[in-house]
């Protein structure tokens, strides 16, 4: 997919009056009613307070049902909070003017299937007071950007899930918003599509935009995000740089090696390692590294690489989820 600038860099807003935080969330709480007559309520989000700084890529992580989509829907005004406030670019989320400067990709987006991609984009562009010529130019540019230039005149009922996701992304950034909020943007995409979405997010960052996206694909978050927030059971469990949040302490060293046919003591070494194909991986403590290397050398093994093992975001994430499950998962309140 050809990647161009989101908009001319020279036109980037250097707004002096712009608030430091693009998104400010304070004590946001949301309950969902359930049961007969909707008298019982399940708390989906509890006292969420956080900020997304201007110009950063912020990853919102959490398992299914953690409150990611709820938070995003609250921010774009699709649902209303029980308590708390939020502001985007200094404007309250109920202010219609706020919507001029945000782009939103819903989770598993679905659009009018009787329209073509070009018609859907033109339809959405009409709500942003763009001239006909400007709309046409932007629609063409966005279709090209998301790799749909040849499918732009096909009705969406014939689109695959991945193609709909691309249309969703195009409509989210069509009007050049300052803040882009993406709910599971990689969902439904093949590896190429995911790579393309990652490129678009990085391009938005280069253009000075603020991007907040939810995901449970942790490698994407580690690769793209300046900061991440981890939410589990409706509660924010941590915010920070991906490396910062999981801690930097190494957990040991991993040695990747091969054992040629004539290697002596091969059986003893092989027993301590894990075999993958014709290669072996051995996990040793940091202080035992040189001893292990000497032992491999003496046995005639061919060392391919030595890597420091750090706890991944995934491990941190799983630790939080398991801790939360142990505490009884989501909080339920009734008759509130």
């Amino acid at each position: 997919m050809p990647i161009g600038l989101i908009d001319d860099e020279a036109e980037l807003p250097k707004n002096e009056s712009m608030p430091a935080a693009a998104i400010e969330i304070e004590n946001l709480t949301k309950d969902y009613p359930f049961g007969f007559l909707h008298l019982k309520k399940k708390r989906s989000l509890e006292g969420l307070t956080m900020q997304v700084e201007n110009g950063e890529v912020f990853g919102f992580l959490g398992p299914n049902g953690a409150g990611k989509s709820t938070t995003i829907k609250l921010l774009v005004g699709l649902i209303f909070p029980e308590a708390g406030t939020a502001r985007i670019l200094g404007k309250p989320i109920r202010d219609i003017e706020m919507h001029r400067n945000i782009g939103y990709l819903p989770e598993q987006p679905y659009f009018y299937d009787y329209l073509t991609a070009a018609e859907v984009l033109d339809y959405f562009a009409r709500f942003h007071d763009l001239t006909a010529a400007d709309r046409k130019e932007r629609v063409t540019r966005m279709l090209k950007k998301v790799g749909l230039e040849t499918a732009g005149k096909i009705q969406l009922r014939k689109y695959s899930k991945g193609m709909l996701q691309r249309v969703g992304l195009a409509q989210a950034i069509l009007h050049d918003p300052q803040v882009v909020i993406l709910d599971e943007p990689m969902s439904g995409l093949d590896p190429i599509g995911r790579r393309e979405v990652r490129d678009i997010i990085l391009e938005l960052k280069r253009a000075g935009k603020t991007v907040m996206f939810s995901t449970h694909i942790l490698s994407d978050a580690e690769m793209l995000c300046d900061r991440v927030g981890v939410i589990v059971g409706g509660k924010l469990r941590g915010v920070g740089a991906p490396g910062e949040i999981v801690g930097m302490k190494a957990q040991g060293m991993e040695i990747l090696f091969e054992l040629p046919g004539g290697a002596s003591n091969a059986a003893g070494i092989a027993a301590e390692a894990t075999k993958t194909g014709d290669r072996y991986r051995m996990h040793v403590a940091e202080e035992e590294l040189y001893g292990a290397l000497d032992q491999l050398h003496a046995a005639g093994a061919k060392v391919l690489s030595v890597t420091q093992v750090k706890p991944s975001l995934e491990e941190y994430f799983m630790h939080l989820v398991e801790a939360d499950r142990a505490q009884g998962a989501a909080v339920e309140v009734s008759g509130k």
């Binding site: 829907k73 774009v76 699709l78 219609i96 919507h99 819903p106 598993q108 959405f124 709500f127």
Partner: protein
């Protein structure tokens, strides 16, 4: 209002692409068949039969479209989640509702206009001429359109908080009850109490009075329809639609989309 217009045009486009206007083929076939056979079965009253049949068909087809598409106007958008991306744009919820209402009314207006042309073509075939008295038909058709606007507003209101099936039931119930509001004011039964009479009377004023829009009989016979009734029905429909749309906006503005 401009944004409501964008939604309205898209709603109209949806109706066209979903082949809603294909009903016109049925209407055209009905009119052709009636024009050919009416002379054989109704001696001397071909014109009245044609007019009654045409007006009834316009009303019934319009009602079917108003109810069955009207109840899905909002529900379908929420169910399919096409509304999510739209409401993140600078568009207010009441503008969206007004646009959906306007779009379906535009669809019905175009549909009714085409059926009117068909009716006049059939009349021309039967009578070989169109006279000034036939203009009363246009007023009857205008009243049908006013009635359909009211039905669309009601369907839209119910669409904001219930499923399509329930919304069909509610809208149909209101429509049927609305045909009998005059009877509700005059009907007496054994064992009635002053409180019950007052309740029925109050209810009759709350329900939409659809009977007022029914001028099919005078229109079929070419009887003139008073200007006062035209003004009264226009004002009534506008006011009632306004109130129902306000109620729909109040409900929808608080609605959480899941």
């Amino acid at each position: 209002m401009r944004r409501a217009g964008v939604v309205a045009l898209n709603t109209f486009r949806e109706a066209v692409r979903d082949r809603v206007l294909y009903n016109l083929v049925f209407f055209a076939l009905l009119m052709m068949a009636a024009a050919i056979f009416v002379g054989q079965i109704s001696i001397g009253i071909e014109e009245e039969v044609m007019k009654s049949l045409g007006l009834s068909a316009i009303s019934v087809i319009g009602l079917l479209i108003a109810v069955f598409i009207g109840v899905g106007l909002v529900y379908k958008e929420m169910d399919k989640r096409t509304l999510y991306a739209l409401l993140a744009k600078p568009v207010r919820r009441w503008e969206f509702l007004l646009g959906k209402f306007g779009g379906l009314v535009l669809t019905l207006a175009v549909n009714t206009l085409a059926m009117t042309a068909g009716l006049f073509a059939a009349l021309l075939y039967v009578k070989h001429h169109i006279e000034r008295a036939d203009a009363v038909l246009l007023i009857a058709i205008y009243f049908i359109l006013l009635k359909l606007m009211l039905v669309v507003a009601l369907a839209l209101l119910f669409s904001c908080f219930s499923t399509p099936l329930l919304a069909i039931l509610y809208t149909s119930a209101f429509y049927v009850a609305g045909l009998f509001v005059v009877d509700m004011r005059t009907f007496h039964f054994a064992g009635e109490t002053p409180a019950m009479v007052a309740f029925m009377r109050g209810l009759s004023y709350l329900l939409p009075n659809f009977e007022n829009f029914n001028v099919m009989a005078p229109a079929a016979h070419g009887t003139e329809i008073s200007r006062a009734l035209i003004l009264q029905n226009t004002a009534y429909s506008a006011l009632y639609c306004g109130i129902v749309l306000l109620a729909a906006a109040a409900v929808f503005s608080r609605r959480n989309l899941k």
